[in-house]
Assembly symmetry: C2
Homo-oligomer: 355 residues x 2
C-alpha cells in the first residue's frame, strides 16, 4: 500500500462550515493528512481555533507559504454557488501545479480542461483530479431489486449543507463498531474524496441521475447488509430538488434519516420557508412513496453552534414534536440513530429465528 | 427568409406513437416539410395508413431510397431508452451524410462527436445538429420573479410520452387564435425541433436543470402573457422524476395542466402503478407547493386509440372524478382547456376594470 498523501486545503475567504464543507469534512475525518490550510482571512491561526476541529493544522495566507509543509496535493475545499471557479483562486492553483503539487477539485468547473492548468500540469508533472467528473457510460434507472438481506438508508435534509454526509458517515461508523456489515455510498464530491469511490450525482445528466445512484446502491448492497447513502440537496430547495428526488428514487431506500439544524427556518439564500419537522417528514415520505414506501425513522440533528444544554433541549423538543428518536451524531454519538434504523428494518421474527 | 427545408425521418422499426414521438409530432405539425420516412417494417405504405396522420408521405425501406425525394436533412425520429444510438441505424446515417444530407439528432448520443460521422460530414459538406446539446453556461436557479402580467402554465403527466408537448402546443395555438400573447417553452428535443429554440433539460447537468428552465421561462415571460411550458417525464417515473421536479420548480408555474391517457394504469416498462387521477393531481400540487403553490386546473386527455364515443365517455368520467374541465385537445380542440386556464388565472376584477 502506498504511503498516505498529504494535502493542503484551499479555502481562501470561505473557511466556514457552510461554504467550506469539503474542507471541514476532510479536517474532521482525515485530520492527520492535512498539512496546511490556505485562507488569507485567518492566516497565522490554526484549524482548531477557527473551526473547533482539525487540531494544530496551520492556516497560511498563500499557496507559496503552504509549499514549505510539502503537500502532495492541493484540495479545493470550498463549494461555490453553481460550482464555478472564483477567478482570484487561479493564482493559488497555478502556484500548486508549478510546484508539482497535484490538484484535487470538487467544483463543477473542470480544471483538467482548463487550458492554462492543463499546460502547467503537463509541464510540471502534476495531476489534476476533477472529482465531480462522472463516468461516460451512465444510463437510466431500471428499478433493480436490492439483494435480499441488504437494507438501504438514504439521508435527506431540510436544506443543502446541513450535515447529511456527516450523519451518514457517523452512523456507518457506529454500525461498523457493532460488527455489522456496512457500506457508505458517496454521491457528492466530499464523500468521494473521503471514500475513494462514488459519483457526484448533481453533475450527472438529468436523465441518468437516478440510474447512477441505482448502480452505486445495487453494487453496495451486494457487498454489505447496511448501506448508508449520502444525500444531496433538499426537496425544499428550488435549485436542487430534482437532484434530491432522483437520488431518493434511484436509491429506493428502506428507511430515511432526516438531517436538520434546529432553528433553521429558511432555505439558505432563497425565500422558501422550511415547514415544521413533522411536515418535512411527511414531504419526504410522500415523495418516496410515489415509487416505493419508506419511512423517516430518525432525526439527525446538527446542533453546531449550540451549547450542550441547548443541544439537549433541541433533541428533547424534536423527539416530542416528531415522535422519533433524535440525536446529534457528531456530539452525542450515532448509536441511538443506529438503534432506530435497526428497530425499523429488522423484523422481530429474524431476531427470534436467530436466537 | 430562406426556403423551408425538406426532411426525411428515420424511424426504422419503431414507427409508433410511443417510441416514434418525434416522428409523429413532426408529421402532425410540419407535415408539408416531410418528403419520406425510412422504416423497413412499413416500406411501401404512406404515413396516413400507418399512423393516421401525415397524409401521403411515402415510407421507404432504406435511406438510399429516401434520397430520390431529395431531403435537405435526415431527422432521427425516435426516442430510444436512455437515448442511445442503435448500431443498426449507423448505416442509414452514414448514407445520409455521404450524400451531403444534414442530420438532425435528438438522442442523448452526440453524433457530432462520433469519429466516423464527423469525418463523413466534413468530407461531404453535411452538418450534424445534436438538438439535445445544452449550452455550456448553465447555472443554478435563483427563483427570479416572472414579469407581472405574465402567466406560466406547466404541463405534467401521469407518465412519459403521454402527449404533454402536444397538449401544450394545441393550447398555445388555441390561445393564439383568440389574439392572446403566447409563448411555448420547449424543454425537449422534439419541442426544440418544432420551435427552433429551447433546451433539452433532461440533458442538463443535475444542478443546472432548474436554472435552465428558469432562464427559458423568465425570458418567455418578458415576451408573452401566456407561457406554455412543455413538461418532461413524470413524478411517478422512477428514472425521470428528478427531471420533472426540476422542471416544475424551475418554471414556478401559476397553474398546471395534467396530461393522461385514459386507462393507462402503469408506468411503461416499470412496475409502478399509476394511482387515481385525483391522487395524481394531489401529487403534483403537493410537489409544486413545497416551493410555490400551483393548482392543476385542467386535464388534457390523450384518447388516441379510442372511438369518439369512448373518448367522450372518458372525458365525462374524468370530469366527474376530478371536478376539473377535461378534453382531448387533439380530437376535440383545446378551447375548453384554455378557458379553464383563463378562468383560474385571470382575476375577476381585471375583466371588470377592462370593461
Amino acid at each position: 500500500m502506498s504511503k498516505r498523501r498529504t494535502m493542503a486545503i484551499l479555502a481562501d475567504g470561505m473557511l466556514d462550515f457552510h461554504h467550506g464543507k469539503t474542507a471541514t469534512s476532510i479536517l474532521r475525518y482525515r485530520p492527520s493528512d492535512v498539512v496546511a490550510i490556505v485562507d488569507s482571512h485567518h492566516a497565522g491561526a490554526v484549524s482548531q481555533d477557527v473551526l473547533g476541529i482539525g487540531g494544530q493544522v496551520p492556516i497560511v495566507g498563500d499557496m507559496s507559504d503552504a509549499l514549505k509543509y510539502r503537500p502532495d496535493e492541493l484540495l479545493i475545499g470550498i463549494a461555490t454557488r453553481g460550482g464555478f471557479l472564483p477567478p482570484e483562486w487561479r493564482r493559488q492553483i497555478a502556484l500548486a501545479l508549478q510546484s508539482g503539487v497535484d490538484v484535487v477539485n470538487g467544483l463543477h468547473y473542470m480544471m483538467a480542461e482548463d487550458t492554462e492548468f492543463k499546460a502547467l500540469a503537463r509541464r510540471h508533472g502534476a495531476q489534476i483530479v476533477d472529482v465531480r467528473r462522472v463516468p461516460e457510460n451512465l444510463s437510466t434507472s431500471e428499478m433493480l431489486q436490492h439483494r435480499a438481506g441488504s437494507h438501504v438508508i438514504t439521508f435527506v435534509g431540510s436544506d443543502c449543507a446541513v450535515g447529511k454526509m456527516t450523519a451518514a458517515l457517523e452512523m456507518r461508523q457506529a454500525a461498523d463498531a457493532r460488527g455489522l456489515s456496512t457500506a457508505f455510498v458517496a454521491t457528492g464530491q466530499t464523500g468521494i474524496m473521503l471514500e475513494g469511490s462514488g459519483i457526484a450525482i448533481d453533475r450527472a445528466i438529468g436523465d441518468f441521475m437516478a440510474g447512477a445512484v441505482e448502480n452505486l446502491v445495487v453494487e453496495a448492497c451486494e457487498l454489505a447488509d447496511w448501506v448508508f447513502v449520502e444525500g444531496q440537496g433538499s426537496l425544499l430547495h428550488p435549485a436542487y430538488s430534482g437532484v434530491t428526488l432522483a437520488l431518493m428514487h434511484g436509491s429506493l431506500p428502506d428507511a430515511m434519516v432526516l438531517v436538520h439544524p434546529p432553528g433553521h427556518r429558511q432555505i439558505d439564500d432563497y425565500p422558501v420557508t422550511i415547514p415544521s419537522l413533522p411536515r418535512v417528514i411527511q414531504i419526504y415520505e410522500e415523495a418516496a412513496g410515489w415509487i416505493k414506501p419508506a419511512r423517516v425513522v430518525a432525526i439527525a440533528l446538527n446542533t453546531r453552534g449550540l451549547s450542550n444544554q441547548e443541544a439537549a433541549r433541541a433533541v428533547r423538543q424534536t423527539e416530542a414534536e416528531t415522535d422519533l428518536p433524535a440525536a446529534d451524531p457528531v456530539k452525542g454519538g450515532a448509536d441511538k440513530l443506529v438503534d432506530a434504523v435497526l428497530a425499523a428494518l429488522t423484523p422481530a421474527e429474524s431476531s427470534v429465528s436467530g436466537a
